[in-house]
Symmetry: C2
Subunit: 453 residues, 2 copies
């Protein structure tokens, strides 16, 4: 290894995973991992389900206990924020003033919830959900909450919505743009999510922003388009921003997305010059979108985890270029699984693509087999390849998203996907998989469009 | 269309589906469909689940009622066996002596259960499960059965096994070769299926054949390797044979598999000469295996259904060549989903391939999320591409088999599959999908094998 002292700032999905991999493969490395949080190695992604009492205890989310770090020879410093990076001196300084030198530095500071610039947003009772402490705080308040407002129609708030409803609170969700989950779904697919939430008892307001959050000692209401909505608890879920304070302070280059610019080996830049000894990965760093070739922030754990392996490889001197990212994702809202991969129609348009689309509603089992669910599928093509897909249903979503991810990732056309054989048994799928059907119909549309050119 | 009078012999997954498609697309065609069975347009595949009372009535399996045929202008003749095909005279003759002329003929006579040449096999109380009448007869007997023996470890018998167990019968399954499901699974994967059945109360005997089925008026016992096993009901599930009596009688060429030889347009041959006006499809016809390039019989509904579209295309003069077949399949044994695609180790060896394999046991959800199931995965590579896979678990099998089917079908390597991004949410999958993990480990094995060459 090129330099033995490796410092990670951030012990989340990217940082800690990379540190673990490195520790296993390079036992001689001297690895220090800093986290400003008191607990590390827990699953953020599980928190909505603890809040909804599907999982009985936040402690269940803690995947590794500190002795594991010791065994691996990892020095994990919790509750220790890094306040400064000295790139020239190759050292970081903790909030306690301790200076720690490195041969290689990995910045994996994650993201943070976007806090909209709304009056009253810092009132007590206004929550975000990022860390375990956030989760626990929300859990405590949740018990007594009668009126909850979620500001923003992003996935984290929607995954948490059932927790409020199941606790008996009156829930209002306010999203500024005219649909829920705008970065993952097309409007009519988002309407399915909205109908599901409404059917569970939520009120959903879209296309209207929040004017103010009101209260004296704590939050009492939210004003939305002139209407005053009572609220004793507010959850902000209006998207995330890469957490780049530290990078900015060190004059590390940020990109158009606001995230840290990295090359395919996760090396950062200062004034356009690549730094060989400083990497950045996870939610705080930009990646290249597979379809557009453009920089993008994908703040999901699966992407961060995958990046961690490349980071470890690169730290070990095994130069493995990280490929562009497609980012299949699935969000679980009560019983509803909401999956997406690649571009939405809006994202296509932004990228100069006028997509051909096909939407299909199918079933997850043979129609005579009990317990089958409806599955809604929308596929998008640029007139040649598949470029995106959205799938919503109560079962069979994850597997189909992964099929789509493979197809899109390998540059397949709708006809390629339609031509793929699928398995069949009445309890498992209909004879013709709805994804195959959607691909077939989109392939016809593509063929017709090509003919009429 | 080339000739208006189209005759189908067989109204199952291949024949009736092709006839439907044709009727919709060529309303001027004069289509006659013969079936020797009294009821058509039902799902054979659903029968094990009616027997197990998951589905409450055999009538639920009937997908289309006769008025639908009328509406489409289809003349469907049930309970009418064809006894002869006159290729030169272009006519078929029914068992009632009626002669019906055709311009184009489609033979879709399906398969039938293999009846092993064992003394006593024709005794009353010895059942097979192919038609709706078979299903109903078995259902009637099932109620009073105390001791059941399933002869053969094929999927149809195993899917039906839970029906016997749930009805309280003592069940013994006897398979001549040393494992269950030998054409779908490797031995250690079959052992998982066996353990599942044993845990549900079945006795499983492998590696031993049946000497005789014994009884006077009806079956009373089965003798297996000298042991007399009481039996008041026997189900034969020792594989299937293509139903080619009619084709044979007409001197249509049969292949090495015993199935009807067809070209990529499903045209049959007589003495090696292609007949332009006679097609065969479904279980009765050979297909070309995708990996081996060799003829094979795949008797599954998904294959028959897919073929039906090509048959309709070809009858309409739209020459669409049918590609080689991979045949992903899934068999549901109580709660257990048993999936496979491509070649087993044994099939590899028969094809001259020494496979590199990797087996992994994973989970279907994040480990802290309740309700997750174990999933067992085995992948096979020829040292370059993926050539087969087997997946067993109580959920998440079908979707992963379809991912594998796409990967194998497009000639991908284990590394290609490992490189595909997958979606993640705790209730839907672990952070790293077990299929991705298995592909990754197999890719390492393949890389090491290449290096050491
Ligand atoms: C409620 C919720 C649900 C989610 N659900 C899913 C899901 O279902 N599927 C999915 O794929 N993704 C999900 N995600 C996203 C996923 O959790 C993140 O993408 C992933 O954790 C990102 O990993 P990371 O290492 O980049 O950042 P994080 O895991 O957030 O880690 C950031 C680390 O940086 C540390 N840090 C930051 N600044 C400093 C500093 N100055 N000094 C010291 N330490 C610092 C933090 O303490 C922390 O240890 C969810 C996220 C949330 C919040
Ligand atoms: C119990 C069971 C469970 C199954 N489960 C699954 C599953 O889960 N998934 C899956 O993919 N596949 C499954 N299969 C297989 C699937 O049902 C068959 O592959 C499919 O039906 C084959 O279609 P086919 O048209 O070739 O034959 P069939 O559907 O069997 O149709 C044959 C037709 O030919 C007719 N016929 C035959 N000879 C004559 C004659 N001389 N004159 C007139 N008519 C004649 C018959 O009456 C019938 O109409 C299962 C099969 C069974 C029996």
């Amino acid at each position: 290894m090129n330099g033995r002292r490796i410092v990670f700032v951030g012990a989340g999905g990217a940082g800690l995973t990379a540190a673990f991999t490195l520790a296993r493969r390079a036992p001689d490395a001297q690895i220090t991992v800093f986290s400003k949080d008191p607990v590390v190695a827990y699953s953020q992604c599980g928190m909505p389900f603890v809040l909804d009492r599907k999982i009985l205890d936040f402690n269940k989310l803690v995947i590794y206990q500190p002795p594991v770090f010791k065994d691996l020879g990892l020095d994990v410093r919790t509750s220790t924020a890094i306040e400064e990076i000295d790139l020239d001196g190759r050292a970081v300084t903790t909030e306690k003033g301790e200076r720690v030198e490195y041969d290689r530095l990995v910045i994996a500071t994650g993201s943070r919830p976007f806090v909209p610039p709304v009056p009253g947003v810092h009132l007590p009772g206004v929550h975000t959900l990022l860390t375990l402490e956030d989760g626990k705080a929300l859990y405590e308040r949740l018990k007594d909450a009668l009126n909850v407002v979620i500001i923003g129609g992003g996935p984290i708030g929607l995954e948490t919505a059932p927790a409020f409803l199941d606790a008996g609170a009156k829930l209002t969700i306010i999203e500024r743009v005219p649909q829920l989950m705008p970065s993952a779904l097309d409007p009519e697919m988002a309407a399915i999510v909205q109908a599901h939430l409404e059917q569970k008892g939520a009120r959903v307001i879209t296309g209207r922003g929040v004017d103010s959050i009101n209260g004296t000692a704590r939050v009492e209401s939210v004003t939305c388009a002139g209407e005053v909505i009572p609220a004793d608890l507010v959850l902000l879920s209006a998207g995330i921003r890469p957490n780049t304070d530290l990078a900015k302070q060190a004059s590390i280059d940020l990109g158009v997305t606001g995230g840290i610019v990295v090359d395919e080996y996760f090396r950062v830049r200062r004034n356009g010059k690549v730094l060989d000894d400083v990497l950045a990965a996870g939610d705080c760093a930009e990646v290249t979108g597979l379809i557009t070739g453009k920089p993008v922030i994908y703040a999901v754990g699966s992407v961060a985890n995958r990046q961690a392996k490349y980071v470890a490889d690169n730290l070990l001197g095994k130069k493995t270029p990280y490929p562009p990212v497609l980012c299949p994702a699935v969000c679980v809202i009560g019983d509803l699984h909401v999956g997406n991969v690649g571009l939405t129609t809006h994202a296509c348009e932004q990228a100069g693509i006028t997509p051909l689309t096909f939407s299909a509603r199918g079933a997850t089992r043979a129609r005579y087999y009990p317990g089958g669910k409806t599955v809604d599928i929308k596929l998008l093509s640029d007139g040649d390849r598949l470029v995106g897909g959205q799938i919503i249903g109560e079962e069979g979503v994850g597997g189909r998203i992964n099929v789509l991810s493979l197809a899109i990732g390998k540059g397949m056309s709708p006809a390629d996907l339609a031509g793929a054989e699928t398995c069949y048994a009445p309890p498992v799928s209909p004879l013709i998989d709805p994804l195959t059907y959607a691909a077939e119909m989109l392939a016809l549309k593509v063929a017709r469009a090509k003919k009429s050119q």
